[in-house]
Amino acid sequence: MKKKLFGFCAALCMLMMLVFPVYAAAEDAPFNESEIPFRTMVTDNADLLTDAEEKELAAKAWDLTRTYNCAVYIVTLPSLEGMEAWEVTEYLWTEYHMGYGEDQSGVMLMLSMEYRDYDIAAHGYGNVAFTDYGKEVMAERFLPELGDDNWYAGLSIYLDCCGEFLELAAEGTPFDVGSDSDPLFEAGISLVASLVIAFIVTVRLEAQMKTAKMQKAAQAYIDQQGLVLSVQRDHYTHTTRSERYDPPKKSDGGTTVNDDGFSHSSGKF
């Protein structure tokens, strides 16, 4: 069944091998085409793209792949056929020897149309370039377009993000928690916090200058017995419950990698 499902992938793979020229020169090591057995960068089994769109996206993905020695894939499927999204991406990656080099470095965006599931899976060097937070941000950027069925626009954003994150990783600073913070906004927050701290310090210093104050209570004069309670009743009445939407954010950064060397970010579009 799985072979039937992905038979088209293999065929397209052979086609793409003929279509794309071989490029050399990556950032750190020369790109070696033989290091990437599966070169079908865009596999549109769900038929979401026109041929021209598919070719354009595939060219862009291939360009990223050879520039950064990290395979960038897009796969669309009609259905997950009862599997979880992450199970499907791991199956494809392993079954079709996806990724670049010995450690099968790469990233894949998989879309399944049946229940509109997506999964971003990374492997090898892809786990370095695409952190958990990076994958979340990437999804936040392309999901609005995919939600509106703007497939080409959404997938283009995905490739743009891949380019941006791979470039940052190549520079030694992978996109992670804090990478997308606005320095001006942070400086503004710091300024406000500093003014509040300065105000508190000044008010405390001023309070030292005025010590003649009326007493509001008489704690020092309570007799030895103290408070004698005649009634002490605590009565439970009811419980209320409220919910607030707050998707979890990773505050410590990094990438969570499973035993098979994959990291994922899944959801619905």
Binding site: S194, I197, T202, K216, Q232, R233, D234, T237, R241, D246
Partner: protein, 369 residues
């Protein structure tokens, strides 16, 4: 018109006696002899009674003189007369004009400490007194120490301000035994929060809490003199009541003393407010184990079982700087000193800006690290 007043004179040399807080005795400035309060009290009890009688006669005579002067159109107005009394200094004979509430003072001409008879007799006699324990030098030292560590104090204040006046004053206080009973109703909640997927769930348990009870207070002090600023008198509390002694005018020489001019009834609202606030705080302290507690209704009843008239030792220090007067009060027993100091606006701005800059740099360094 002027009448006699009492001075405590040394039985050995007739020099004026002063009460000295450190020794707790009356000491002679001239021959240096010291006497127990009880000893001098016994010696002067008869003399004091005679002075009171003389004072009563003098007051009557003065009233007659005033009436005559009024007929001749030469009198002071009634308010002025009501607020003043005059005496002759037994040491130098000078005529002293005092406030009607003054009970102990000293002659501005010869410095002789004097007790005004009749001010502390009968129903006006205080029941208790806490004698001075700290002297004038201790008050001056405490004021200098008070300036230390005040970052906003103008630099010139310490050097240029001068102590205009320093007076040890026995301030009249009412000490009130009272009780507050009643009930307070609270609404309390306990909140727990956890995450369910992409949702933060908050569960709040609500409780109705009732507390009823009573709480007693012993000898809550409230100053009974309109001359004394209430904030200063409140702020130098508390006094150590273990030093309370039965009143004797023998503790007064060397200090000023006033009789009360705020009566018990007028003092009660301040005591009631403090006692009720304390009762609320104590009841609130028994409501524990909740995230939030809000008092929704309360019913408190205040009652008092008695008030005692007492004199408390206070050093009043007045300083002047740039034509402004600054008043300080020090507890003559414990040494606690309070008072408002001037603020250097330049220093205030410098501290604000400096703190803001340092704080900002630390935060930016943290972000950039």
């Amino acid at each position: 018109m002027a009448t006699g007043i009492t001075t405590y004179q040394c039985p050995a040399c007739t020099g004026p006696l002063h009460f000295v807080g450190e020794s707790g005795k009356l000491e002679c400035d001239y021959c240096g002899k010291a006497y127990d309060v009880a000893e001098i009290e016994k010696l002067y009890s008869e003399k004091e009674a005679a002075s009171v009688e003389a004072q009563a006669k003098a007051d009557a005579a003065r009233e007659r003189e005033n009436a005559a002067a009024q007929e001749m159109g030469m009198s002071w107005d009634a308010q002025e007369v009501a607020g003043m009394k005059n005496y002759n200094c037994p040491s130098c004979g000078a005529e002293l004009i005092c406030d009607a509430t003054t009970a102990a003072t000293s002659c501005p001409y010869c410095g002789n400490p004097t007790i005004v008879p009749g001010q502390f007799t009968g129903g006006l006699k205080p029941e208790l007194v806490i004698p001075f324990r700290l002297d004038k030098q201790a008050a001056i030292k405490a004021l200098k120490n008070y300036y230390r560590g005040k970052k906003l104090l103008p630099k010139s204040f310490k050097d240029q301000n001068h102590i205009e006046e320093i007076q040890g004053v026995y301030v009249p206080f009412w000490l009130c035994d009272c009780e507050v009973d009643g009930s307070i109703h609270y609404h309390a909640t306990n909140t727990s929060t956890w995450r369910e997927g992409d949702y933060v769930v908050t569960q709040t348990k609500h409780y109705e809490v009732d507390r009823s009870g009573q709480i007693g207070f012993r000898q809550v002090p409230v100053d009974a003199s309109t001359k004394m600023p209430d904030a200063h008198m409140d702020a130098i509390e508390p006094y150590d009541y273990s030093d309370l002694r039965p009143f004797s005018s023998a503790y007064l020489p060397g200090f000023l003393a006033d009789k009360y001019d705020v009566n018990q009834q007028e003092s009660l609202p301040r005591i009631q407010s403090r006692a009720e606030n304390s009762a609320e705080m104590e009841m609130r302290n028994t409501v524990q184990g909740y995230s939030t507690v809000t008092a929704t209704s309360k019913n408190l009843n205040f009652s008092h079982s008695g008030m005692k008239y007492a004199l408390m030792p206070v050093w009043m220090l007045s300083t002047k700087w740039k034509d402004q007067n600054f008043l300080f009060a020090m507890n003559g027993q414990t040494g606690k000193l309070v008072g408002d100091l001037p603020i250097d606006n330049g220093k205030r701005v410098a501290w604000f800006v400096g703190t803001a800059i340092v704080s900002l740099l630390l935060q930016l360094a943290f972000w950039w690290w």
